[in-house]
């Protein structure tokens, strides 16, 4: 019964090819000698040389990484503690709070950008890493919270009771049983958060300060002003890193 028709295979293949076409073209054109993306003038590594000598890009990359790490740390603390707290008996405001906490992944990003810009200037927070970390965490917390909560909901309570029964204290139970159980959830939540923070343009534009330029913002401005082959080279580098990360996480998940 469970077989796939030829037409279905062709359809899957075609969509996948179209899905990859822009990516492949980006990679191909990153080796183009010509400054114009429309003409192919032969193979060259010029754009990569230019990229690796571009101090601005390096700085932006570093900023992006710092920001993503800060966001991951803040979101991890908030999301995991919330998931742990709200697994048992609920308090009156729990549904209200977790409902609002999940809102940032449901509403268009532009609204969040606007909202954060307004409130941060009202609160007189210095625009830069602080504001960006908070803003990015707003859409990373719900992911970590929801993923870890889902994992905890699937967890058999008697596992923890068994640990207590065998002589583990509350902390030892958490360390030996609960944490290992939710670790895959935490890992995928962090990976997702890192990627989303790294890629975010919309919210970053509104919450960035004068001194903090992230890679995503940099790419966005460059793309708006007209594409340069340097962007193709940068895109290729990011792509390679992404593929590596996915590959490694797939590998580790199997073990």
């Amino acid at each position: 019964m469970k077989k796939v028709s030829k037409a279905a295979v062709i359809f899957l293949g075609l969509v996948t090819v179209l899905n990859y076409l822009p990516i492949i073209l980006t990679v191909v054109y990153s080796f183009n000698k010509s400054k114009l993306t429309s003409v192919w003038e032969g193979f060259s590594l010029d754009w990569y040389k230019m990229l690796f000598n571009d101090g601005d890009i390096k700085k932006a990359l570093l900023n992006s990484i710092i920001l993503a790490v800060l966001t991951c740390m803040l979101s991890l603390v908030i999301g995991v503690s919330a998931a742990l707290a709200m697994r048992g008996k609920k308090l009156i405001f729990d549904d209200f709070i977790s409902g609002f906490a999940s809102l940032p992944i449901m509403i268009p990003e532009i609204i969040l950008g606007m909202v954060f810009m307004a409130i941060f200037s009202y609160m007189n927070l210095p625009f830069g890493f602080v504001t960006m970390t908070i803003a990015h965490s707003s859409f990373c917390v719900p992911y970590i919270f929801l993923i870890v909560r889902a994992r905890l909901m699937g967890m058999d309570l008697s596992l923890e009771e068994a640990a207590r029964d065998l002589g583990a204290s509350e902390f030892e139970t958490f360390r030996d049983v609960t944490l290992p159980y939710i670790l895959p959830g935490i890992a995928s939540g962090l990976l997702l958060s890192f990627a989303m923070s790294f890629d975010d343009v919309v919210i970053s534009i509104f919450t960035t300060g004068p001194s903090v330029n992230t890679l995503a913002i940099k790419i966005y401005t460059k793309m708006k002003t007209g594409i340069t082959p340097e962007i193709n080279a940068l895109a290729t580098v990011i792509l390679v890193i992404t593929v590596l990360v996915i590959f490694i996480s797939e590998r580790t998940r199997k073990d």
Binding site: Y20, P22, I23, P108, M114, S138, A216
Partner: protein, 284 residues
């Protein structure tokens, strides 16, 4: 176990503080600003006005809202037409191919959206890859100059949002018990009837959440229309950005955001009602 209870309260503190301070408060603040008057230079005065909302209903902006909704709808329909069969067929592949397909999907999905859009610029730009191909095949004589047009924006939207639909449909196809289809065929349903009465019904949660995950972001994805549409395709997201960054009319931007937010909430409510749950399938 008294300290367990204490722990439970302590663990709640971060999310309570964060949510109140950085989600609820900002949203409330936005609603308040939307009723205030723009100051002459920068910011706003604390004088109550409905002017901003009146302005939203100005035919010019109303039209932009309409255009945005239309584009979002068009993207959603296209994404559904491609994404549903894709997710469905994917669910029927062998375990091995499922894993491979998943990997193939995840690579672009995890790659920055901007970088993926970059490829479409190469394709669409005047005398770019598409124009060259079409002229080579003799389908067109002159370059189509598709970059900075409506179709380019639509393609960009569909391309950007397709994985969300595929993943949510796939996850509900995965959960489906295939013997139910065998049962329905056994009871006399044709292939098509069986699809309509069993498969479609059982994968509806995935389809619906795919629709939400497509429609909601597409209302605000201003940078796709920005990059692939130039300044020719003006969507509500772009107007908010413009009001904020160029015209410095924060109250009006707030009012536009409130309306957009209301639209989103109505849509989410609708989804909740139709699907019976608030959870989005395939997200986790």
């Amino acid at each position: 176990m008294k300290n367990k209870k204490l722990n439970k309260y302590l663990l709640r503190i971060p999310i309570y503080i964060f949510t109140i301070l950085f989600v609820i408060l900002p949203l409330a603040y936005m609603v308040i600003i939307s009723f205030l008057t723009k100051a002459k230079t920068w910011g706003f005065d604390f004088t109550f006005t409905l002017e901003n909302y009146k302005k939203v209903f100005d035919p010019f902006y109303l039209n932009i809202f309409l255009e945005s909704v239309k584009l979002a709808l068009a993207s959603t329909v296209l994404v559904t037409l491609i994404g549903y069969p894709f997710g469905y067929f994917m669910g029927r592949l062998s375990e091995r191919w499922k894993r491979r397909m998943m990997m193939l999907l995840m690579i672009p999905f995890w790659t920055s959206g901007l970088i993926r859009l970059n490829g479409w610029i190469i394709i669409f730009r005047s005398n770019g890859v598409l124009d060259k191909l079409l002229m080579f095949l003799g389908i067109t004589k002159t370059p189509l100059k598709l970059l900075y047009t409506y179709p380019a924006v639509l393609v960009g939207m569909v391309y950007f949002l397709l994985p969300f639909m595929i993943l949510s449909v796939y996850s509900s196809v995965e959960k489906m018990d295939w013997s139910l289809i065998e049962a329905s065929r056994d009871l006399g349903a044709s292939r098509f009837e069986s699809f309509l009465t069993i498969t479609l019904r059982l994968t509806m949660p995935g389809l619906l959440s795919g629709v939400v995950l497509t429609f909601v972001p597409s209302m605000g994805l201003f940078y796709i229309s920005d990059i692939l549409g130039g300044n020719k395709i003006v969507l509500i997201g772009s107007v908010i950005v413009e009001q904020l960054t160029k015209l410095r009319n924060i109250p009006f931007a707030a009012a536009l955001s409130v309306i957009l937010m209301l639209l989103t909430i109505v849509f989410l409510r609708l989804y909740k009602k139709v699907s019976g749950t608030g959870e989005l399938e395939g997200l986790f």
